[in-house]
């Protein structure tokens, strides 16, 4: 079975399948996609998901703008991405078909709700002729299923109004897909019962639709057979299926517990970060305090105030929200207090693409404050990794008394993957190490407390929340005298303090793991360096390239500031370095500036993650040019520079240097 085509007549057992549910934003595609994912996770498949929806809650029904999709790849072996091209598309209306048909490989299966393919909907989707009848879908196996009419029909005698019954058609589609991929529906039925408890008619309509879909598969004889994707052989352990935002929220709760600090989240709702607020606000049993502020500034301000008081202060945001927080981050740098800023990156500039993913805030995280105001940056690489990355970010913030930026993005936030639960006993202990007494003898020989006396190793200053007599002190945004923390406008002092603050952050390089390089035998010439959510696509691309018999190495950075201490050496070991990013080449600029390494930037800005196939092409292209010459000649580079590398999808990624 190849990884991109599926032929249901050939075999009943598949090693993997990529499904895409697509419909109107109001059709409940995310709901059924989620549910199918959960069922598959419990079944034991490895999987990865990619919810892809518009910013509008209900864009005009039936239009391309209103199409909401949920893609999931399920597999019997470990996989890294939600897949490039769906093997199966479920299209609830013509717009859903039109918006997604271009991504289908030849031979893919298309299951359409044929009831929706009437003139009005076709026109809204921009079809002049019905694609079901004009032969334009001949490359695919198309199943026309009257989902709306069957759904309405089965609920007729339950007292559900036809208009309401019709809304259950997403569960019909789910039932059908469950049959097709031999998934039991009992779990989903139970889930419907609990979710719609108290809304009897809705529950009944959904249950009936689900069963009708399942039975339709069995009895309609449309499908020659059903398929099976067997459980994956994952590492032994207990698993849950988790989104990046949930993993982040749980990471915060765990970090609070591991540090003994009360957790305070100050935030303002913004897509796609709000789910962290929602999740945390449910967990007051952990002493979590969530504060929905009047604006982004107050969100981070309150978090900083809580940190001053000895709490774990956290703020979450995205897009324009992160701009608004810059001023308070600067204050945090000056106050040298622990503070966590979580940025769930989305497409920009300005309001940009609220529901689409991008990695374009790295340079903002590095430099987006006035003055010299460095702070550590940690980036999560997969949905479940958000848990670990969050705890690491908190560790650095507390130990070094500094604001830390944790970068996630829209893809990680909403995407899911199975996560092998860590042993709680193995979670790191974070010691707040609060100041406990005087730390200085003044000129008169008195023991006094100075807020800016630094730890010799970490260069961190003491954290002395109010409440301890004898440690009263004042801090602020004005430059402080080294040691005493009194206001100082002295030039020499300013230079010393600026260098001390920078050295403190730079010194973290000695407190983080060395670069984790995946290079099978150490003989690769080409190294791919990524960060953040490109992890899955890069790792999948690397696997493909290796499967073709080439050598390639992959390093994925979790710490973006400072970089691991050995990164320069690592880069120097390879003849060529490829840096794929969902931005205009931000990490590649940093690497070039820091290490004078002539990296090749590979970028894409479509609001979606990289495809493994385009990653594969980009790596192969670099290996090919490397093999053709010394890889550094102008002739070779100019043939690569600016040339789209993925022939099949011309605008899919840009290589430049």
């Amino acid at each position: 079975m190849s990884d991109t085509t599926m032929n249901e007549h050939e075999s009943e057992v598949l090693d993997r399948v990529i499904l895409r549910f697509a419909g109107d934003s109001g059709d409940g595609m995310q709901l059924v996609g989620d549910q199918f994912t959960n069922v598959s996770a419990l079944f034991g498949n490895d999987l990865a998901t990619f919810p892809d929806f518009p910013a509008e809650i209900r864009a005009p029904a039936g239009t391309l703008a209103g199409v909401s999709a949920f893609q999931v790849q399920i597999s019997d072996h470990d996989i890294l991405t939600p897949g490039d091209a769906p093997n199966v598309l479920v299209a609830m209306n013509p717009a859903a078909l039109k918006a997604n048909v271009a991504t289908l490989p030849p031979g893919a299966t298309v299951i359409v709700n044929v009831d929706a393919f009437e003139e009005r909907n076709l026109t809204k989707a921009g079809y002049d002729v019905n694609p079901l009848t004009d032969g334009s879908l001949s490359a695919y196996t198309v199943y026309e299923v009257p989902m709306t009419s069957i759904t309405t029909e089965v609920s007729k005698d339950a007292g559900v109004k036809p208009r309401d019954a019709e809304r259950s058609k997403n569960f019909f589609a789910l039932g059908l897909i469950c049959w097709l991929y031999t998934r039991p529906i009992d779990g989903t039925a139970e889930w419907i019962k609990s979710k719609y408890e108290g809304k009897f008619l809705v529950m009944e309509a959904n249950l009936r639709a689900l069963k009708a879909g399942y039975h339709f598969g069995e009895t309609a004889e449309l499908f020659a057979s059903s398929f099976e994707v067997r459980p994956a052989t994952l590492e032994p352990g207990e698993y849950v299926n988790i989104t990046g935002n949930t993993a982040t929220a749980w990471g915060l709760i765990a970090a609070a517990k591991q540090s003994g600090l009360p957790l305070f989240l100050g935030t303002y709702p913004i897509t796609p970060a709000s789910d962290i607020l929602h999740e945390l606000s449910k967990h007051k049993e952990f002493g979590v305090r969530t504060f929905q502020a009047e604006d982004e500034i107050a969100g981070i301000g309150a978090a900083l105030g809580a940190a001053f008081g000895g709490a774990l202060g956290v703020t979450t945001t995205s897009g324009p929200g992160v701009d608004l927080k810059a001023e308070m981050m600067g204050l945090g740098v000056s106050l040298e207090l622990p503070l966590l800023i979580i940025n769930i990156q989305r497409g920009g500039p300005s309001t940009g693409l609220p529901t689409k993913t991008e990695q374009a805030d790295l340079l903002h995280a590095m430099y987006g404050r006035h003055g010299e105001s460095p702070l550590p940056i940690v980036a999560a690489k997969t949905p479940s990794h958000c848990f670990e990355a969050t705890i690491e970010a908190v560790r650095l913030a507390v130990k070094y008394r500094t604001p830390v930026i944790l970068l996630s993005d829209g893809y990680l936030a909403n995407g899911t993957e199975p996560w092998r639960l860590p042993d709680v006993a193995d979670l790191p202990i974070i010691d707040p190490d609060f100041a406990s007494g005087p730390n200085h003898i003044d000129e008169a020989g008195n023991e006094v407390f100075w807020p800016y006396v630094r730890d010799e190793t970490t260069l961190a200053r003491p954290w002395a929340p109010p409440g301890l007599a004898g440690l009263e002190h004042r801090i602020g945004g004005l430059e402080k005298a080294d040691g005493s923390g009194n206001v100082s406008y002295d030039g020499d002092n300013h230079e010393r303090m600026t260098r001390l603050r920078a050295a403190k952050i730079a010194g973290i390089a000695n407190d983080i793991p060395p670069t984790d390089v995946d290079d099978e035998d150490g003989h690769a010439d080409v190294l791919v360096v990524g960060w953040g959510s490109t992890y899955g696509a890069i790792a999948a691309g690397v696997r493909r390239v290796r499967a073709r018999g080439h050598k390639v190495a992959h390093a994925h950075l979790v710490h973006l500031n400072p970089f691991p201490a050995d990164l320069g050496d690592v880069l120097g070991r390879y003849r060529r370095v490829l840096v794929p990013e969902v931005n205009m080449g931000q990490l590649s600029r940093l690497l070039r500036a820091e290490y004078l390494v002539d990296v090749v930037s590979f970028t894409q800005l479509k609001g979606i993650p990289f495809r493994a196939a385009s990653m594969e092409s980009a790596i192969l292209e670099l290996i090919r040019t490397e093999d053709a010459g010394d890889g550094r000649s102008d002739a070779v580079t100019s043939s690569v520079g600016g040339t789209p590398v993925d022939g099949t999808v011309p605008a899919d990624g840009k290589v430049s240097r």
Binding site: N38, A41, L42, G44, P231, E235, P236, E238, Y239, V240, N241, W250, I253, A254, K257, P262, F264, G266, H283, K284, E285, F286, G287, R289, F291, A293, E294, I297, A298, G301, A302, L304, G305, A306, F308, G309, G310, G313, M328, L331, L335, R420, L421, L427, P432, F434, S436, P465, P466, G467, L468, A469, G470, L471, E472, R474, I475, G476, G477, L478
Partner: protein
């Protein structure tokens, strides 16, 4: 000294010892005070430093937070915990602090530019939420620190460095704004009367929830004499209307003027001789409806007409931080303390052998 920082966020090392007897000196930091000579801020600072030994509070449990402006330097001069933050944001920072540390007295020191311009949003929301903080707004109707531009409380037509042809803007009435923002404690004082200021600060401190005190403060460099017509020694009795709870509102050397509420509900200054004492409005700080307090806040159109000072409003409302703690406690009571291992398994989990 041992660290007694508690997991619930309380940090303390002296709770078992009685509150030490202190003097003004104990509350003054070693930092040189750097306001312009003659600035009204000095008397406000003195009033504060002299009041604190009287309040029965601990220095280590007292925090002064400020934004940016001349007033915002005050925390540096207090020998307590303190933070001089960024322009307008002190109420937001204070909200996080007071919400997580109910054991602290949190004072927010601000000015008319700081909290009515750039920080207007934070001010009104802190008041609305009734966060347990005491906000002292030094209103000098000018930007001092940036050297003399008009502020959101400057009178219309005011000529300043940034309005050489006169200001075109209707000023804010800080008390009306606070009352409109659902403030539960609202008072006004002025820098020429330390006794009155002290009393207002004491009352504001005693109030649970947000307290808001406007202090008319003279900026002798950029707006000298802005309040002279009402706070000058010779004018006070005729121009300041003391509000006393439960008492008829009257003023003047002989108490010859008073305030009445007309048939249309509007308040007005009258001669007591004309209307009789029984017609005077009796001040009620605890009135649930803020309407009358709002009217009193607008009795004078500016510091050139008889102006009420004192506590305009003092009502009980649920305090934000306390309510948040209650919610947390109630959930812990119901569900028990959270357990991380259980949290990680709270969705559907499955086991791979």
């Amino acid at each position: 000294m041992t660290d007694l920082a508690q997991a619930d966020g309380t940090h303390t090392n002296g709770a078992s010892v009685p509150v030490p007897v202190t003097t003004r000196k104990d509350w003054s930091s070693d930092q040189e005070v750097r306001w312009c000579p003659g600035c009204g801020d000095y008397t406000i600072l003195a009033a504060m430093q002299m009041l604190l030994p009287d309040l029965g509070v601990r220095r280590e449990n007292t925090v002064f937070l400020s934004g940016i402006g001349c007033a915002a330097r005050l925390p540096y001069y207090m020998n307590t915990y303190g933070m001089h933050s960024i322009h307008g944001r002190a109420p937001a920072i204070a909200t996080g602090l007071a919400t997580t540390r109910p054991d602290l007295d949190v004072w927010v020191i601000t000015g008319d530019g700081d909290s009515l311009s750039i920080g207007g949003n934070h001010l009104i929301h802190a008041l609305r939420r009734n966060v347990n903080i005491t906000i002292l707004l030094f209103n000098n109707q000018i930007y001092g620190l940036t050297k003399g531009q008009y502020s959101p409380t400057s009178e219309m037509a005011k000529v300043t460095k940034s309005t050489p042809f006169g200001s075109l803007e209707q000023p804010f009435n800080p008390l009306s704004l606070a009352l409109g923002a659902e403030a539960s404690f609202v008072a006004r004082s002025h820098d020429m009367d330390r006794k009155h200021m002290t009393e207002m600060f004491r009352r504001a401190h005693a109030h649970k929830g947000s307290s808001f005190v406007e202090i008319y403060q003279n900026c002798n460099v950029f707006n000298d004499g802005a309040f002279e017509q009402i706070t000058g020694k010779d004018h006070r009795s005729e121009m300041l209307i003391p509000l006393v709870h439960g008492e008829p509102i009257r003023f003047g050397a002989e108490g010859e003027h008073g305030v009445v509420r007309g048939p249309d509900g509007a308040v007005d200054v009258v001669s007591v001789a004309d209307v009789g004492e029984s017609a005077l409005l009796v001040h009620d700080e605890h009135r649930e409806n803020p309407g009358l307090a709002f009217q009193l806040s607008r009795l004078s159109r500016g510091p050139y007409e008889p102006t009420p000072i004192g506590v305009f409003r003092d009502v009980d409302r649920p305090e934000y931080g306390l309510e948040m703690t209650r919610q947390v406690d109630a959930v812990i009571e119901r569900k028990g303390e959270g357990d991380i291992a259980a949290l990680l398994r709270s969705g559907s989990s499955w086991t791979v052998e």
